[in-house]
């Protein structure tokens, strides 16, 4: 050992995953690979998706943000991000982000965990949680609603925001073929206050938004990884002019750019996931916003590249490239895409009002 290293006792910043985190990631990857759809036609296979849902529930991944000791979540933002990333990479058509964000709202409000499957309802732009003001419910969208019986909304109160549940309409035709949405329904007694909860502070909502952005950034990283692999494999196999199209520099450079963007996104998203439970809420939000802006821009470009590399086939329903692209578009919009998050980043740097946080 160099004397310098001895002097500091060998302790050094280390952003590698712990052995437990690596194991969690590998398990999530294996579940997604084994039970996720391997072709567009398999999206309609209810047996398979049922097994996937059961595996995710059994692994306890929907409870990662339920309260443990002292109200701290059972697992940190890093564990949540690892699962989100691997499920997205495998296009896992199972609810994860929605239930996780619902659990986090309940935890922050000190409420008991949900009695049944639950997600969150957002405004129709998907940019923030739906708010019910004076009993008047706006149009709202319960995201990632497969299997959910209810969705959480916010009710502004004097001391902050209270939690309430709304019912769900039928699962609608969906942008994301792997994560359907439903309309939130607050009519006819379907709006119920969540009991035993305290009001959520502004700080709580910043922290919650940071988690939501970090999870959607991780989802986008998974999407990008899956899309790059799909396109790379196709380019190595598809032949034109007597050789694989992946032997042409024009195609190689498209894929190289996609891979590089994915690696940058990974680094940013990993930091955001770490910041969720480590930094003060405003800093966690800034880290998450920076990561989300980066991942949102990168993911759309990477998925478009995956479509392009597949040529004509990439524009057909049967090619998984558009399933990745659709999933990316939903995750991009979730709690704000590029513009909203650039605004959040600038606000954190002391530029430009509080527009990004509304």
């Amino acid at each position: 050992m160099d004397p310098g290293l001895e002097r500091i006792g060998g302790r050094v910043m280390d952003v590698r995953l712990s052995p437990e985190q690596r194991q969690l990631r590998d398990t999530a990857a294996s579940v997604a690979d084994r039970l996720g759809p391997r072709a567009v036609g398999e999206l309609d296979d209810r047996q398979r998706s049922g097994r996937l849902e059961a595996a995710v529930a059994e692994a306890g991944w929907l409870e990662l943000r339920t309260p443990g000791d002292g109200g701290r979540p059972l697992a940190s933002g890093v564990e949540v991000a690892l699962v989100a990333e691997e499920l997205a990479r495998g296009l896992a058509d199972v609810a994860f982000t929605g239930p996780t964000l619902a659990a986090e709202l309940r935890r922050l409000a000190g409420a008991a965990p949900a009695p049944g499957p639950e997600t969150v309802a957002l405004d129709t732009g998907l940019s923030s949680p739906a708010r019910v003001v004076d009993g008047l419910a706006p149009q709202m969208v319960a995201v990632d609603a497969a299997g959910a019986a209810a969705a959480l909304v916010l009710v502004p109160a004097s001391a902050g925001h209270l939690l309430a549940e709304v019912g769900l309409g039928p699962l609608g035709p969906s942008l994301d073929l792997t994560r359907p949405s439903a309309a939130g329904d607050a009519s006819g007694g379907l709006l119920r206050a969540v009991g035993g909860a305290r009001a959520l502070s502004h700080e709580d909502l910043l922290a919650w938004t940071a988690l939501g952005l970090a999870v959607s950034a991780a989802d986008l990283v998974g999407v990008m990884r899956g899309a790059v692999t799909l396109a790379r494999d196709y380019a190595a196999e598809r032949r034109q002019f007597g050789q694989p199209v992946g032997a042409f520099q024009a195609v190689q450079h498209l894929l190289a750019d996609a891979f590089v963007a994915t690696e940058g996104a990974r680094s940013a998203a990993l930091h955001a996931a770490w910041a969720v439970d480590t930094c003060p809420a405003s800093e966690a939000l800034a880290a998450a916003a920076a990561a989300k802006a980066y991942c949102a821009r990168a993911a759309r470009a990477v998925c478009e590249t995956a479509v392009q590399v597949h040529g004509g086939i990439g524009n057909t329903w049967e090619c998984l490239a558009h399933v990745y692209l659709r999933r990316a578009l939903l995750s991009v919009d979730l709690l704000g895409g590029v513009e909203a998050n650039l605004e959040r980043v600038l606000v954190h740097e002391g530029i430009g009002g509080d527009r990004g946080l509304r």
Partner: protein
């Protein structure tokens, strides 16, 4: 998994922070100024003498044998204090460490590390850019010396350097990659002619050309074995692609902090597009900081320099050019009468996708060595 400082790292950070309060030389905001380059040698010695340079290099050559993350902490703090970045010499040090004999390393490296000897890098030639292995500068053995003839270009700091890490062909009868050797050439001798290059941003101190006509280098100053020059070159360029090694994060962040200051002082003077470009520069810089942390941690696993360096180089280029665009948008070109600092920063950023291996070459490497795509 933890992005935070350890206790020792925190203590080091605070020590550096308080040192910087008194010792920031206040050089121009970027490397796009001749005055900046003129001040860099003194800045190097000042940083080194205070114990803040060469941290991750072995103690045997004047380093401190600390993990690379200490360099990243230096970058963080230099940027936050608005101080100049640390000199980018890691690639030379790592190349000589890895390939030079113990005797050569012990004799030559302490001077690079402590800033008393200035070095340049003589790799590229007018007809050997991306195709470096086609270089034609020759070194012929005459007694105990080699006699060198040829023409080098893009020779960083050739104007000021006392030494040049030179690649020259020593064997003409083997395939091109195998006939190249590395040397430490003394620059101050009759066979060496230096010609400064004026870059598009006006800087003359950074790059130069060197014409070698009968320059002599003792055989004892060969770096590595005869024919090891290509391997040496690959080691050097792999470190030249590493933002953590180069310390560029500090340069980019300092520029972004300067731009943020401008907009904060006069928020109504900037429109949505200018602010958006500045936002991207912030986002890009943050990404690169975290990417460097990730890479430094990978190295704890003993991951050495592979094709991932090309990924890092492309990301670093993306960041520098985003900062360049933000500089142009927010700082302006100077056409309306202001100063042209940010025009120079922008112009300099265009070189980042060429120096150290063009972005086209990096993409080839990513596609073939990482994605495993076939070669035509």
């Amino acid at each position: 998994m933890d992005f935070g400082d350890s206790a020792a790292e925190r203590a080091f950070r605070l020590r550096l922070r308080s040192w910087l309060e008194e010792h920031n030389p206040g050089l121009p905001p970027s490397s796009t100024d001749d005055e900046y380059w003129a001040g860099m040698a003194a800045w190097h010695r000042s940083l080194y003498d205070a114990g803040f340079f060469g941290l991750s290099w072995p103690t045997a050559i004047g380093g401190q044998g600390l993990p690379n993350v200490y360099d990243a902490i230096v970058d963080d703090e230099l940027a936050s204090a608005g101080a100049p970045p640390r000199p980018s010499l890691g690639y030379l040090v790592r190349g000589i460490l890895e390939h030079g004999s113990d005797e050569v390393a012990a004799r030559l490296l302490p001077g690079i590390v402590n800033g008393r000897a200035r070095w340049c890098q003589g790799f590229s030639e007018p007809d050997a850019g991306s195709d470096l292995a086609s270089l034609r500068t020759r070194a012929d053995r005459v007694g105990d010396d080699y006699v060198v003839t040829g023409h080098k270009i893009w020779t960083s700091y050739s104007d000021e350097a006392e030494w040049c890490l030179l690649l020259a062909r020593t064997d003409h009868d083997v395939p091109p990659h195998q006939g190249i050797s590395g040397f430490a050439l003394a620059m101050d001798q009759p066979g060496v002619e230096r010609r400064p290059l004026r870059m598009a941003n006006g800087v003359t101190k950074e790059f130069g050309e060197v014409v070698l006509d009968g320059a002599r280098v003792p055989a004892a100053d060969m770096v590595g074995e005869p024919g090891e020059g290509w391997a040496l070159a690959m080691t050097v360029v792999s470190h030249e692609r590493e933002p953590g090694e180069l310390g560029y994060v500090a340069r980019y962040r300092k520029q972004v902090l300067d731009l943020l200051d401008r907009v904060r002082k006069e928020p109504d003077a900037y429109d949505a597009d200018q602010r958006r470009q500045l936002g991207w520069a912030v986002v890009e810089c943050e990404m690169l900081r975290h990417h460097v942390s990730r890479r430094l941690s990978d190295q704890l696993d003993g991951v050495t320099h592979g094709p991932e360096g090309s990924v890092d180089k492309l990301l670093m280029t993306e960041v520098e050019q985003a900062v360049g665009h933000a500089g142009l948008a927010v700082g302006g070109t100077g056409a309306g009468g202001g100063d042209d600092t940010w025009l120079k920063v922008y112009l300099y950023s265009r070189a980042q996708s060429v120096m150290g291996g063009t972005s086209q070459i990096q993409r080839n490497l990513v596609a073939r060595r990482i994605l495993g795509l076939p070669v035509k």
